[in-house]
């Protein structure tokens, strides 16, 4: 797991070594906030369709979806940030990505852009009070009047966090 994990950190943490090399990010929005992930981990973008709920899972785990025979878990980014469940309809977007050895879907409001950014334009994540928060932010990109938060998806939906939540719930 750690091998693939390192590979997937291509989206941000390598900035220091690879300064000056342009990188591409897919950006998307949830409410007013804009987020981004390394485009290399994105497999597919599709509209929201009804999912099958997985019983006794955390709230932000919306359920599973059929993607050409693969069963893909769908996570609600809004719910993950404790902003309530997304009232999903067909206009909402699910971004399918390869994270570590797993394929997951991320429910967001809209996909906005593909950003090409030089690595030295990526600012490190700000220091926060809780260590946990910093774990899933790989960096920040400032563009004219907006700011894109680069997410480390693996840390955001790390299995252990999910397991812990289940344990707490029980």
């Amino acid at each position: 797991m750690t091998d693939t994990y390192d590979k997937n950190r291509a989206d941000g943490t390598q900035t220091i070594e690879n300064a000056g090399i342009p990188q591409e990010f897919l950006s998307f929005t949830v409410g007013d906030a804009e987020y981004g992930v390394d485009i290399m981990i994105v497999r597919e973008i599709k509209g929201w369709t009804e999912v099958t709920r997985l019983p006794n899972s955390v709230e932000y785990m919306r359920g599973v979806m059929n993607l050409r025979g693969l069963i893909i878990p769908i996570f609600d980014l809004r719910a993950r940030f404790n902003q309530g469940m997304t009232e999903a309809h067909a206009k909402n977007v699910v971004i399918i990505m390869a994270v570590g050895e797993r394929n997951i879907g991320l429910l967001v409001d809209t996909v906005s852009d593909i950003l090409t950014v030089n690595n030295d334009d990526i600012k490190p994540a700000p220091e926060t009070e809780t260590a946990n928060d910093a774990d899933y932010i790989n960096g920040l990109i400032s563009l004219e009047n907006r700011m894109v938060v680069l997410l480390n998806i693996e840390n955001l939906f790390e299995t252990k966090i999910i397991e812990r939540s289940i344990a707490e719930a029980a």
């Binding site: 009804e50 999912v51 099958t52 709920r53 997985l54 019983p55 006794n56 899972s57 785990m61 359920g63 599973v64 979806m65 059929n66 050409r68 025979g69 693969l70 069963i71 893909i72 878990p73 797993r102 394929n103 997951i104 299995t159 999910i162 397991e163 029980a170």
Partner: protein, 669 residues
């Protein structure tokens, strides 16, 4: 030039082939009867050893080459009748195959086996073989046995060896072949360079040369062809004796106008190879992908059909006909694809005779294993998981079932015990039976043991004979007086039962005291497909495996009683069965809470019967099982998922886990 990865791949396929050849050797050795052993059988065994040896050199596995060389020598001496294939000799040969097996395994893992591996066996092989002097003649004795000319006089052959351009790509070296050929006799080798192109057009990785060889030898044509055995497919070869021309069947360029008499000699070697030409090796992953894709097609086809159902017939008759044809072809395609993964149970059965033989030698018993139905096919997934339980059951029969010859004779039975192993298809399932004519299950002993271990309440007098027989499947039960290393480590039949039930199978025992016992295992043909009952709870659908369902009923009001501090129970014909509510366990909204307005599905779980309260039965369907845990986290109570005709994911219940979930729920509440 072949790259490293190519070489690695060839090595892998050499290893796979060697393992198969070893299995074949073992099987043939076990079949070998000292009384009736003929050259045909010995030849086949020899060929296996020879092929393993041949390949080992190419990959620098000299320890295999050296060992198999000695093994070959003994086999050769047997073929020549100098050594008899006695039981002892065959035992040594079997042990030798084990050693080679270890060596091949070591090669597979990229390690080198201990230098003294098989040294004792090697010495014994040499001892046996040395009934005849181990000279070069013995080692190459293969070439002597079928002289075409009928006498050992020297014959002059003219041989044309014209490799195909891509000969090097398969890792062959013509020089080695020519050197090998020269060993057979007096050879004059002339290279034909006429096909070599100008330097600018020359591809150094292709073979442009061919050779004309005149060989004076006392060896047979078969012996000559043997040299080219591994390049048979990569060259045009013609071997012409003075009066006769013998062609290798695949040589298209042989001059058919030749005035000499043409004899296509089919030697045993070619015959043995023919069946292989109809099969190819395919990576299992590719097959799995294919199965997945077809599963998807089936779902897509169902969606298309649903969409077109409402179209007016007269306007869209062509389209609708097309959709019908599509449905028809899809079904066939699915059947074919599933059959690709089907394998005969032979691959597991074939390792059992050895086990029986070893046990009988070890325990001084005389046991015959009669196998039937080994060509019965079952899905790869089942084969993979069937090996261990089956091995254990055979061991169990040989160890506990069959008595020693003395006891058997005293009981008026023949000294030799028999174990029948059979497989057959019955009603969409595979049924495997292991039947022995031994002592049967000693019910007194079983009951005593069960009481000692506290597995039975009271004095056990209320148990029926069948119930006593079934105690052997109880966890932690073993009746062997002495815990032997063959069976009876306390992880006995209960593990067998758990494995088999884990595959959706059943295992039963019929006991005939002092006459033997019969174990029957019934399994689904595939683990990739499951017969499921789709049930609705609230707005959600779940699938319960049909194999675990006993019956479905709607209780009258008040029939489900709430017992304080316990689960709800339902009285079914005098039996109190715990009732669980799926909506509670899974937190499902809008579900029916009152059992008398819902339905109860009675299921059999490992912990006994239980009733699952659901809203409605939606229907029964064959579903393709998909892994949930590949991408999502495992959920307790759910064994997997499937995709229904509308493309939606539906979850499959694991009834054995549900009760554990209930316990937790109640503690939390």
């Amino acid at each position: 030039m072949t790259t490293n990865t190519d070489l690695e791949r060839f090595k892998q396929s050499y290893i796979n082939e060697s393992l198969e050849l070893l299995a074949e050797m073992e099987e043939r050795l076990l079949d070998l009867d000292p009384e009736t052993a003929d050259n045909e059988q010995l030849n086949a065994i020899f060929r296996c050893a020879h092929s393993i040896k041949g390949g080992s050199g190419a990959f620098g596995l000299t320890y295999i080459t050296n060992f198999t060389h000695v093994l070959e020598a003994l086999l050769d001496a047997m073929r020549e009748g100098k050594v008899l294939p006695t039981r002892d000799a065959v035992d040594i040969l079997l042990k030798a195959t084990d050693i080679v097996h270890q060596m091949v395994r070591a090669a597979q893992e990229g390690t080198t086996p201990a230098t003294n591996l098989g040294k004792d066996i090697l010495e014994k092989l040499q001892q046996y073989a040395s009934h005849t002097p181990t000279t070069e003649t013995a080692a190459y004795g293969l070439f002597d046995d079928t002289p075409v000319t009928g006498n050992a006089d020297h014959t002059t052959y003219s041989i044309v060896f014209a490799p195909h351009l891509n000969l090097f790509a398969t890792g062959n070296e013509p020089l080695l072949l020519l050197q090998e050929l020269a060993k057979l006799g007096d050879a004059t080798i002339v290279a034909d360079t006429t096909k070599v192109p100008n330097l600018d057009a020359l591809d150094p990785e292709q073979c442009y040369l061919s050779w004309n060889i005149t060989l004076v030898t006392d060896k047979s044509v078969a012996a000559i062809k043997e040299v080219f055995e591994f390049v048979e497919d990569a060259c045009d070869l013609s071997v012409t004796a003075q009066e006769k021309e013998i062609r290798v069947a695949r040589a298209p360029t042989v001059d058919t106008q030749s005035t000499t008499e043409t004899v296509v000699k089919k030697d045993a070697q070619n015959e043995a190879k023919t069946p292989a030409s109809g099969t190819i090796r395919v990576d299992l992953e590719k097959v799995d992908k294919l199965v997945n894709m077809v599963g998807e097609l089936v779902i897509t086809e169902a969606m298309v059909r649903m969409q077109t159902r409402t179209l007016p017939q007269e306007q869209f008759s062509d389209l609708l006909r097309g959709v019908d044809a599509l449905a028809h072809h899809m079904r066939e395609l699915q059947e074919v694809v599933m059959s690709v993964r089907m394998q005969p149970v032979k691959s597991i059965f074939s390792r059992l005779p050895r086990i029986v033989r070893d046990i009988s030698t070890q325990l001084g018993k005389d046991i015959r294993l009669v196998v039937s139905g080994e060509s019965t096919e079952v899905d790869k997934t089942v084969i993979e998981q069937l090996g261990d339980p089956l091995t254990h059951m055979i061991r169990n029969s040989a160890d506990h079932g069959i008595e020693t010859p003395e006891k058997r004779l005293a009981a008026g039975k023949p000294a030799q015990g028999t174990i029948h192993l059979s497989a057959e298809h019955r009603g969409g399932r595979i049924v495997i039976e292991i039947s022995d004519d031994g002592a049967g299950i000693n019910r007194e002993k079983v009951l005593k043991k069960a009481l000692e271990k506290g597995l039975v309440a009271g004095d056990g007098s209320s148990l029926s004979p069948q119930e006593i027989d079934n105690l052997i499947f109880h966890a932690g039960f073993s009746t062997a007086d002495v815990v032997s290393n063959i069976s009876g480590r306390g992880v006995g039949m209960d593990v067998v039962r758990r494995n088999i039930e884990g595959m959706g199978g059943l295992v039963q025992v019929v006991n005939r005291p002092s006459q033997g016992s019969t174990f029957t295992v019934s399994l689904p043909l595939t683990l990739a497909i499951l017969d499921g009952m789709i049930v609705r709870v609230g707005n959600e659908n779940y699938i319960i495996p049909i194999t675990s369902i006993i019956e479905t009923l709607r209780p009258k009001q008040g029939e489900v009683r709430h017992v304080e501090g316990h689960k709800d129970v339902l009285n079914v014909r005098g039996e109190f069965i715990p009732v669980i509510y799926l909506y509670q366990l899974f937190g499902i909204q809008n579900a029916e809470a009152e059992p008398s307005r819902a339905l109860i599905v009675l299921v059999e779980s490992r912990k006994g019967k239980m009733g699952i309260v659901v809203d409605e039965l939606v229907g029964q369907q064959q579903v393709v099982i998909k892994s949930l845990s590949a991408n999502a986290d495992p959920v307790e109570g759910i064994s997997g998922a499937t995709i229904l005709g509308d493309g939606k994911v539906s979850l499959i219940l694991e009834v054995n886990d549900l009760q554990g979930l209930v316990g937790r729920e109640q503690k939390a509440a």
